[in-house]
Every structure is written in structure tokens, then in C-alpha cells.
């Protein structure tokens, strides 16, 4: 028993912010950013745009492609670091927009969110508790970014991407790791403004990242997760058609290619969107799936705050 992805969609902010746009208000340049990250532009929520709007668009597109009506969905999961409101959950609001009345969950696993939601969907399928699951990964990193810190604000973007999963005989294989107390502080964001007079929790709400430590974590985690999947299935990288990595930084993808070879198997689109946290893997899937053939073996792999890493090997 397992799962099959039968529809995908995306919802992107209208505003495109290029590296040159950033250079207008901070000491940076297109050359500096693109050489160090591979990123050329990103989409940012602007004006009255909301994550709910992006999520609704992505979900509707995925449902349409899956030829599935909202009332056929047994479980809706939204993966997000933070929705438009602290409460209610974005998944509740999205269910309302789509006219759904099913179990809803928000999953806050940062960049690994989509993979954790796939793992949960698979458990629902195996338990006989769902036939179809909708996952929407929706992130507004622009709300967590310190826009005076050029070392981090150039990296991130906002986006939503969705996938409809169906119970099938295609059994996926997962490899997940949570490092526990080891290194979580290298990538974190505090909660933001509170005014409780009884505590002094560090609280500017911004994302903090130690780039060198996260690079080492990312490349070592990708290597470990992919090897674990290949070993479990007695496969080699030659047997895999495409590896969809979390789109954090082109340098990290190059680090993976250094270890596995086959750059053609590692597509990327972070040059257009920056790092969109949990939305990046399903957004890349949505954009490149036209190249897949039935029976192709895919690896989806993400890494991020936790520190967590997760990967899934499945057949298309």
C-alpha cells in the first residue's frame, strides 16, 4: 500500500523582486548574490496579498489536474512556518475557502514540511483512514526576514505549491532524521512581538542562520538521506531518474552533485524563487513533472530547521 501524486499546482505572489531591486536599498549586487547563492529573483507578498490566496490558487490547480472535487479529500495538510494568523490555522481557513469539511492539520516542519506531510499522508492511506489527501505548502519567509540583514534577506521568497495524493499500490520509501539538541540554534526564528511583562524571551521575530554550519548540515544530510534510500531499495543513483532537492542555495545542490554526479538528475529553480522553505520541493515538482514518464523513480529530499532532514523515494 502506498501513494501516488495525481495533481500539482502553484500559487505565486505577483511581485517579483530582483537582485538589482535589493541593491537599491542595501549594500549588495546581482553578481554578489547570484555567485554565492544562484538566486536571481524571488516572489514577495505585497500589498494586501495573503498566503491564503496563494494557497487557494495552488490547491484549486492541483485539484483540477487530479480531477478531484474538494469533498473527495479526506485530509488537508498545510505545511507552513506561519500562516496569515497564529490562529486559526491556515489549513482551517483554506478548507473554508475550498468548501471542505475534513480533517485539517497545519504542519510546522520548516523546509521539510512537504516531506513530513507526505509521510503522514502515507500513514493515513496505510491505516485505511483516507483515499485522497491534499497537501498545500505555503510560506511567507518575507514576514520572518530581517530586511536590513543582507546575509539572509537575499535568500528567501514567498510561494505556495500543492499536491493531491491518492492511495495506490506504489509504496514509497522514506528516510527521516531529526538531530535533536545538536545544532538547532544554527537555523531558527523567534516568535516575534509579545508584551508579556513576566518573561524576557529573545523575541525580535527574525530568522537567524549560520550559513557555514547549515551548509555542512545540508550537504551531509542530503548525502545520508539519499544513501539510506538507495541502500534500503538496493538501488544506485544510476537507477534514479530525478532528485528533487529543497531549493535553498545552488551551492548546496552543487555539493550534492559533487558527491553523486549526474547534474542532469538534479533540476533547480531557486534562481527564480529563492528559498521558499517547504514550498520549494512541491513547486519544483510542479514545474518539472512534465519531463517525467510513468515508472520513473524519483527522490524528493529536504533539510532545514530542527535540524531535520527527510527524503522519499517513489515511483511516478
Amino acid at each position: 500500500m502506498g501513494l501516488k501524486i495525481i495533481g500539482t499546482g502553484s500559487g505565486l505572489p505577483g511581485k517579483i523582486v530582483t537582485n538589482n531591486d535589493l541593491a537599491e536599498f542595501m549594500d549588495t549586487s546581482d553578481e554578489w548574490i547570484s555567485q554565492r547563492t544562484g538566486i536571481r529573483q524571488r516572489r514577495i507578498l505585497s500589498g494586501s496579498e495573503t498566503l491564503l490566496e496563494l494557497s487557494t490558487k495552488a490547491a484549486a490547480e492541483a485539484l483540477q489536474e487530479a480531477q478531484t472535487s474538494p469533498d473527495e479529500i479526506d485530509l488537508l495538510m498545510v505545511t507552513t512556518i506561519g500562516g496569515d494568523y497564529k490562529t486559526p490555522a491556515l489549513s482551517c481557513l483554506l478548507a473554508g475557502e475550498l468548501g471542505m469539511n475534513c480533517i485539517t492539520l497545519d504542519v510546522n516542519m520548516a523546509c521539510c514540511g512537504f516531506l513530513y506531510a507526505m509521510h503522514t499522508a502515507n500513514a493515513y492511506f496505510c491505516a485505511g483512514m483516507a483515499k485522497k489527501v491534499l497537501i498545500v505548502s505555503a510560506e511567507a519567509l518575507s514576514r520572518l526576514t530581517d530586511w536590513t540583514d543582507r546575509s539572509t534577506c537575499v535568500l528567501f521568497g514567498d510561494a505556495a505549491a500543492a499536491a493531491v495524493l491518492e492511495h495506490s499500490d506504489c509504496e514509497p520509501v522514506f528516510s527521516m532524521e531529526l538531530r535533536g539538541k545538536d545544532g538547532w540554534e544554527h537555523l531558527h526564528a523567534t516568535r516575534g512581538t509579545d508584551n508579556c511583562p513576566f518573561n524576557n524571551f529573545e523575541n525580535n521575530g527574525f530568522l537567524h542562520m549560520n550559513g557555514q554550519d547549515i551548509y555542512k548540515f545540508a550537504v551531509s544530510s542530503i548525502t545520508a538521506r539519499i544513501h539510506a534510500l538507495l541502500d534500503t531499495c538496493s538501488l544506485t543513483i544510476e537507477d534514479i531518474n530525478t532528485v528533487l532537492l529543497h531549493q535553498a542555495n545552488l551551492r548546496i545542490i552543487n555539493g550534492a552533485v559533487t558527491r553523486f554526479g549526474h547534474p542532469e538528475k538534479f533540476p533547480h529553480n531557486m534562481e527564480n524563487y529563492g528559498n521558499t522553505s517547504s514550498a520549494s520541493v512541491p513547486l519544483l515538482l510542479h514545474e518539472v513533472k512534465g519531463n517525467f514518464r510513468p515508472g520513473d523513480k524519483l527522490i524528493l529530499c529536504a533539510f532545514g530547521a530542527g535540524l531535520a532532514s527527510a527524503a522519499c523515494l517513489l515511483e511516478w
Binding site: 554565492r36 555539493g255 559533487t258
Partner: protein, 70 residues
């Protein structure tokens, strides 16, 4: 050890090891922070040591000294 480290860095940069200044800061020899992170991972694998990247390890000479002290 220094030769081994230099060979790894030379291969990464695609230059001759003899042309790499070992006493200059990494940034001055064209290595940014993520280059250093990648090279440290390759050196860890090649030398069997774990390297904790700190601001003090800012050139090849200091990196080699650190590895030899482990």
C-alpha cells in the same frame, strides 16, 4: 598534511597548488564562506578529522595547524 590540504583546495579551485598563498585569508584567495564549508567537509573526509569552523581558522596555515593539533 599541508600538501594533502593544498591538493584538495587546488583541485577545488582548478589551480596549481604552488600558486595558492597559504598565509592569506580565505577571502583574499577567492574562497567565500560556503567554499570554506565545502572544503572543510572534503578535508574532514580525506583526513578523518572533524573540523569546527571558527573565525580564527581564516587561512590554510591555521587550518593545517588546527588539523595537526587534533
Amino acid at each position: 598534511m599541508k600538501e594533502k590540504v593544498l591538493d584538495i583546495i587546488a583541485a577545488y579551485k582548478g589551480v596549481d597548488a604552488a600558486d595558492i598563498a597559504t598565509d592569506k585569508p580565505f577571502n583574499d584567495i577567492g574562497l567565500d564562506s560556503l567554499d570554506v564549508a565545502e572544503l572543510v567537509m572534503q578535508i574532514e573526509d580525506a583526513c578523518g578529522v572533524e573540523i569546527d569552523i571558527t573565525p580564527e581558522l581564516n587561512c590554510i596555515d591555521k587550518l593545517v595547524e588546527y588539523i595537526e593539533s587534533k
